[in-house]
Point group: C2
């Protein structure tokens, strides 16, 4: 590839609306161009990177025994009504009417379409197990598209769906996919972690996420020093608290005239924040609920929604709070003015004695509160976010890092296959609803995530497997000196013969501008061919991560690249 | 590839709603599955073929110097309004509203999006010429989707767009693309023809189409025996007619009480149909127009619309006809009852003498009509379809064949670049609107077109380059005899080492069912490994196009496949 014939168009300007470094660098390097909100075109440079990711994903999916197919991007409403997701998916589902006023959506994921395919194609257990995948454009109508291709509306996703006669086969394929995903992210050269996850809107029984570790990541990931335990914050669990101490204090009212937060109350009383309890008022389908977490903890809404009866909860409004507790927010608590209000306490709260809560009376809190004495024993659940430093179940300490979700594997079970009646005949000739797994990778998001993880002030630091080219041969004054130009051509040919994906920068730019471009677009290996170098029989080699260039002969350059 | 692990699912049933043989065979072989009207999923088998076509298209586009990128499928209304096509494109444009009530369309073609990309990326003549292409899903909301993927709504298209400082460069790239297209269709192994075309809704100055020759083709293609002249019926031109003979008859009325068609009038009068003239009444933007073609000819509406003032013509209604000519249809003619009606005569009509036309009077025609004597000399244009047997301009004879359009190249000129103000600075620092070419290939349609051209009663006859596998090794009783199974594995490995894309049919089917599958899905080379063959040191080889199998040794089999 000669860059004089390749459309490379970098810019020094940092786009005003780009917040993330990956978004800035993708625009500056010209990898993507915005067409409209959340809609990006991939330039020739960007597409080279995207295709390298796609190729590795495809190779490893094939190696793992999955079979590629392709489903339409536009899918009929009727199919999405069979699963109930036509309405349940919400506004992210881009709905479309055709010229005949029939309704469709742009596929944001393809459980329905693949299950429809499977119920037509699969009729016998002998055809199972099978894992179908596609690498196909998806669309999610994000309310606030941002961060470039990190959270665009149109994006490229690898989605795989496996079908099984029984759960044991599903678990086996789920494990197989986890291995394949680890191979994929390892080959891509990324620092990643697999973590336990909540299965969210897709539904199902078990799920794990793959994250690229990056400080700018939207997700908090929790690790233990005591084992390989790792989980998304949504799903992370700390160790059980110790036994509850015996009561030592009497129940008493304390005046807290303007102290509405646990922090303020603790400061006023001169006690640790850990002795206070935060009361969060909710409305569930069965009515008003008070959820309690320790003053220094945060409610985890995903966990809360898993408490029986709280699936569709929302925060209570002020009028509802006054109506049920007779007090304005800021002074709420579980020592109730009237009976019949459901109280759900976090495990840590249930293990407290002599704690402080609101008195359901303006300007007043209660101190020395004790379960079983001052109020009934509560319903107990894990409803808080873990924190760095918490004790892990394995005895280690929990640490928190930031990650960007790039993959997700689910044991779907029979949610979709039951809804769409996707059955096969089993060994006894009886119809059996198939068990399903699903396995997604955000192909276009990986490109942005890799940049978040790998960049410096000069630009991108591509892992070799994702780089647009592994190596670029830069020619100084290609038109002035035929010997230099010929030597560069020969070197390029030699690289290609050695299986190195290399390009020749024959654009005739000044060295400074040329080198700045190569650093910006993140080329791992730069080799300069110049008159002076040729006279000395050397090339100027520089690794993208090295501070200095080195003058090396041809063989040494090759060794540096092949490694 | 082992077919036991590949999802192959053929069926003997011929789908009721499939008319074309390609549609039937793609469904029977399981290559595609219908999701909804005009929406097809590609099964693993179908996708293998689609990807082979895609790969050849990509290789040849790259070889020709074009650069791949990818534009979003969803594009904003504002951009399509800049070109005027938001309304002009018509109902085939699938329009979409997002959650914020912004309007978009699903790209049916990408002139607007690429011109927007170009005006952002290209600023200097030094960046030209450049040819960008993508292989991307498109959507056209066909009013009557049919013939499977031949005319589906969602389809895969390769679309390329070139940008130039001047017309000479555009013409050069246009010729370059024609060469690339010929290479593509040649490599695909298809019988194809390049023909002159009308440039249609895309607009522009010159265009040619590439057709796969097939009896079922929707398009009539015209060839000359005298040269390599070839054109779509829309654009095909016959030789100029000879000089007009001198008048020999007097003008006279003839009674034609119920004879409304030229055929009936000619039969009544006992004259050749070629001496009659058909009068077609039109409404143009400037009013009523009478178009004349010879009784044995058909009007070509594309050509007619190119006559000055007739761009938006429609057929006149009966009331309009009576109003302007004072007669009901069936007896119309250019010998006018009143002045001021525009008459456009086909070249062949203008060369006639002593002809027969309607008298604009019920039950009456005029015979012995002559130009310049009985009526004014007409406005002359080529407004008819050519017919097989017509003399060509090159002196040869015109022949007609049927074709399926799979490619189209256009010299767009400055239609889009002027509308979107896509300029670069030229050598003198002046802003110049770029000249554009565009070049499309219907990637998914090629798959269906190839089947239309290459099939027999047993199924598909793939050209080798498009076959899902070049060769399949069929194992008889793989589980009964380990030696047979091992020999098949060894043969597969040998094929793969020789660069042959081969699969192993280890599904354990009966030979008859296995062979029927291989014939249906069109595998070019079938090799059977059996106990009996192994004992004799031979394999049973059969070419898909051969009537008989042959027993050959390993080396001979390889020679047959590699050719």
């Amino acid at each position: 590839m000669r860059l004089s014939r390749f459309h490379l168009h970098t810019t020094k300007e940092t786009p005003a609306d780009a917040e993330l470094v990956s978004h800035k660098l993708m625009l500056r390097s010209g990898m993507v161009r915005k067409l409209a909100s959340g809609l990006y075109g991939w330039s020739p440079l960007g597409l080279r990177v995207l295709r390298k990711v796609e190729a590795i994903v495809r190779e490893e999916m094939n190696r793992a025994g999955a079979v590629e197919l392709q489903l339409p991007t536009i899918q009929p409403k009727e199919l999405w009504e069979e699963s109930g997701r036509w309405t349940k998916f919400g506004d992210q589902l881009l709905k479309i009417r055709d010229r005949k006023d029939q309704e469709y959506c742009y596929s944001p994921t393809a459980e329905e379409a693949i299950t429809d395919f499977a119920r037509q194609e699969l009729s016998s257990y002998k055809q199972l197990p099978v894992n179908f995948y596609q690498i196909q454009t998806k669309f999610r109508d994000e309310i606030r598209p941002r961060f470039g291709v990190m959270r665009s509306r149109e994006f490229l996703m690898k989605d795989a769906y496996s079908f099984h006669l029984n759960d044991a086969d599903l678990v086996r394929e789920y494990e197989n996919m986890k291995v394949a995903y680890s191979r994929i992210f390892t080959r891509l050269g990324l620092d990643f972690r697999m973590v336990q996850a909540d299965s969210g809107a897709i539904g199902g029984d078990a799920s794990q996420e793959f994250h690229v570790i990056a400080d700018s990541g939207e997700d908090a990931l929790v690790f233990s020093t005591g084992s390989d335990y790792a989980a998304n914050m949504e799903a992370a669990v700390a160790a059980d608290p110790g036994a509850r101490p015996a009561p030592a204090e009497a129940l008493r009212k304390v005046d807290t005239p303007v102290q509405k937060t646990c922090e303020d109350v603790a400061a006023l009383l001169g006690i640790s924040l850990q002795r206070t309890v935060k009361s969060v008022a909710l409305m569930s389908e069965d009515g008003f609920v008070l959820a309690l977490v320790r003053g220094d903890h945060e409610v985890n809404e995903i966990k809360l929604a898993k408490v029986p009866g709280l699936a569709g909860f929302r925060m209570a409004g002020e009028a509802e709070i006054v109506d049920h507790l007779g007090s304005e927010p800021g002074f709420l608590g579980p020592v109730q003015p009237r009976k019949g209000i459901r109280v759900v306490a976090d495990r840590d709260v249930a293990a407290m004695a002599d704690f402080v809560v609101g008195a359901n009376e303006k300007g007043v809190h209660l101190a020395g509160v004790n379960w079983g004495r001052d109020l009934e024993e509560p319903e107990v659940a894990d409803i808080r976010n873990v924190r760095a430093g918490d004790r892990a179940r394995d005895g280690g300490e929990l640490k928190i890092a930031r990650g960007i979700e790039v993959g997700h594997v689910f044991q779907l079970g029979r949610t979709y296959s039951a809804a769409l009646k996707a059955t096969v005949l089993d060994e006894n000739g009886k119809a059996a609803v198939m068990a399903m797994g699903c396995y997604g990778i955000g192909v276009s998001r990986i490109v942005a995530a890799a940049i978040e993880q790998n960049h410096d002030d000069a630009g991108i630091l591509w892992p070799v497997a994702m780089a647009p080219w592994q190596a670029v041969v830069c020619v100084i004054n290609p038109k002035r000196d035929a010997a230099v130009s010929d030597a560069a051509d020969a070197l390029l040919a030699e690289f290609q013969a050695a299986g190195i994906d290399a390009a020749l920068d024959d654009r005739g730019l000044r060295p400074g501008a040329m080198f700045a471009d190569m650093e910006l677009i993140g080329i791992p290996h730069r080799i300069v061919v110049s008159e002076r170098g040729l006279a000395a029989g050397t090339f100027e080699y520089r690794s993208r991560t090295a501070a200095e260039s080195e003058n090396l002969d041809r063989a040494a350059v090759l060794r540096r690249i092949v490694g």
